[in-house]
């Protein structure tokens, strides 16, 4: 797991008004690894992901992705560069079916112009069919065939999370950001989701950055872990090392504060 560095975050600070969400945090993500970001509630984990995919622009610091340092990137540009994500509180297109939701993940790869699309003929139709096939494969992979035509707003939470992962995978991302993919799931659903994440990583070659509260999952899945507390980085390393770090234990148990 010592691939080249895909993304590096250097000295990033982000604040909202007077509230410091992230303070001078640096870490990197290597190609092909599963990188976990953990920490107590309010540690700045989600803010960190939002910085990486361009929802937030940090006041200070640099982000280098694929060797290119960027100033400001918009979310749809991040998507063009191969960064996909899921959200803590599921952001799906609720009125659309599972299949349509996953198809939106292909939108960047469908290039036929609006006129062909309006006619829905010729090249646009071929393209639609080709991408449909990719989506059907993802649906098979995630075992959600039975809900292909169901509007996702009507699905139980666990399945919505799965559809959201499917939409992100449809983008064939190089870097996949997962914000608490297992929140609110039961044990069985967590096991399924863990399997999907591992397979997305190994078989589909996505590098993964993962925020998760279930320590068992984090320790099993991830190659390296970065720990945040109150917007600062307090530990960074392989799971075993992080687990026995005194600062991390204090942060979680609230000792000495």
């Amino acid at each position: 797991m010592s691939g080249e560095i895909l993304l590096s975050v250097d000295d990033v600070s982000l604040s909202f008004g007077g509230v410091r969400a992230i303070a001078d945090v640096s870490f990197d993500i290597r190609k092909g690894e599963v990188r976990a970001i953990i920490g107590p509630n309010g540690a700045g984990k989600t803010s960190m992901l939002n910085v990486v995919n361009g929802f937030y622009h940090p006041q200070k610091g640099e982000i280098t992705y694929r060797g290119r340092t960027r100033a400001r990137m918009k979310p749809h540009e991040a998507a063009e560069q191969g960064i996909a994500r899921t959200f803590q509180n599921v952001a799906l297109f609720k009125g659309m079916t599972t299949l349509d939701n996953i198809m939106t993940g292909r939108s960047l790869r469908m290039k036929r112009n609006i006129f062909w699309q309006a006619l829905r003929h010729g090249p646009a139709l071929d393209e639609e069919i080709k991408h449909r096939r990719v989506c059907e494969e993802i649906i098979d992979f995630l075992q959600i065939e039975h809900i292909r035509k169901t509007p996702v707003g009507a699905l139980p939470y666990g399945l919505q999370k799965r559809v959201e992962l499917g939409r992100a995978l449809a983008m064939e991302p190089e870097l996949l950001l997962l914000d608490e993919p297992m929140a609110g799931m039961n044990l069985e659903e967590k096991e399924d989701m863990s399997r999907f994440i591992v397979e997305a990583n190994r078989l589909r070659g996505a590098t993964i950055a993962l925020i998760e509260h279930d320590m068992g999952v984090v320790m099993d899945l991830s190659d390296r872990v970065v720990v945040l507390e109150y917007g600062r980085k307090i530990a960074d390393g392989v799971p075993d090392m992080v687990k026995s770090d005194q600062k991390v234990i204090d942060a979680y148990l609230g000792a000495g504060r």
Partner: protein
């Protein structure tokens, strides 16, 4: 007893007695309904993609028609004027996206709604400034729209169909069918629905909000132009025309704010309903019920089916 008879029996006896009058009334209602549907379609497009109820849709219709006629008055050939007007609607879409929507992104819907009031008054001012406030007549002949009428013979008499009305219905049906397909089956259609549903999620899969908004407002502008041409041809092109846009409200309530097929069915129900009501029941109340019947129908719908006939049921998990 006489009253009940006048309400429940006489009108129907009249319908059966002279089917030609009935057919004529339905046809007129149908044409009016198609045009209501076109206006409603403009609202639906923008509402679907940006969740904004665009109060300016009515004035966009007048503005488009006025630009077309105004350019022709200034000596521009009709076809060139048509193309120029489409270009103006595109520029308007880009302008609205840059100057109004982009700065207001993530603001509550009511703020965007108020902003469309601003757009309304801006367009009224701009239209009057450039083309003057006098009513103008639509350049139907120059646009090769047919004039005159066809007589259709049916058992019991004949029905007179204006060729212009037939053209209006045909154009409207083609537009509605095209847009419905476009929304359901294409990438951009899907992107439009995605943006309507969740801005953040749409951004994360790489959909550019700005681009989608321009497409939507431009499409709504073209629909407004088509509507303006046909409404303008039936009366005059003047700012008073925006009042008919208000009729789109009951149509929207009936059809559902988010449904393209709903806009057309709602339009037809309102159009035919108000003509039949006016012709057969109007005399009971001294006439003039055409102007408010639509709102009563809409009110009844709000009580029993607030999402409209085809609107998306709002699913909320608690």
């Amino acid at each position: 007893m006489d009253l009940l008879r006048a309400i429940f029996i006489d009108p129907f006896a009249q319908m059966i007695g002279s089917p030609d009058l009935l057919a004529q009334t339905i046809w007129e209602g149908f044409v009016g309904g198609v045009l209501y549907a076109l206006i409603a379609l403009g609202f639906v497009l923008i509402f679907k993609a940006s969740g904004v109820f665009n109060f300016a849709q009515g004035i966009m219709m007048v503005f488009a028609a006025l630009t077309l006629v105004g350019l022709h008055e200034k000596g521009v050939p009709a076809w060139v004027a048509l193309i120029l007007t489409i270009a103006v609607m595109y520029a308007l879409a880009v302008g609205i996206e840059r100057l109004v929507l982009r700065p207001l992104v993530n603001q509550p819907d009511i703020i965007l709604f108020m902003a469309t009031f601003g757009i309304t008054y801006f367009l009224i001012g701009l239209g009057e400034l450039v083309f003057g406030g006098n009513p103008k007549s639509m350049i139907t002949k120059e646009l090769f729209l047919p004039g005159g009428s066809i007589d259709l013979h049916i058992p019991g008499g004949r029905v007179q169909l204006q060729k212009l009305d037939i053209a209006a219905a045909a154009v409207a049906l083609i537009m509605v069918a095209g847009l419905a397909l476009f929304f359901q089956k294409t990438r951009i259609g899907r992107a439009l629905r995605a943006v309507a549903d969740d801005h953040q999620a749409a951004l994360s899969v790489g959909i550019s909000l700005n681009q989608i908004w321009v497409i939507v407002w431009f499409t709504a502008g073209v629909v407004a132009l088509a509507t303006g041409i046909f409404w303008g041809a039936r009366s005059d092109v003047s700012f008073a025309l925006q009042v008919v846009a208000l009729k789109a409200l009951p149509v929207l309530i009936l059809g559902g704010l988010t449904s393209v097929p709903g806009a057309i069915v709602g339009g037809l129900i309102i159009g035919i309903g108000e003509k039949l009501g006016e012709f057969y029941w109007g005399p009971l109340l001294g006439g003039g019920i055409e102007s408010w019947l639509a709102y009563i129908i809409a009110l009844a719908f709000l009580l029993f089916r607030p999402q409209g006939l085809f609107g998306e049921k709002i699913i909320e998990r608690i």
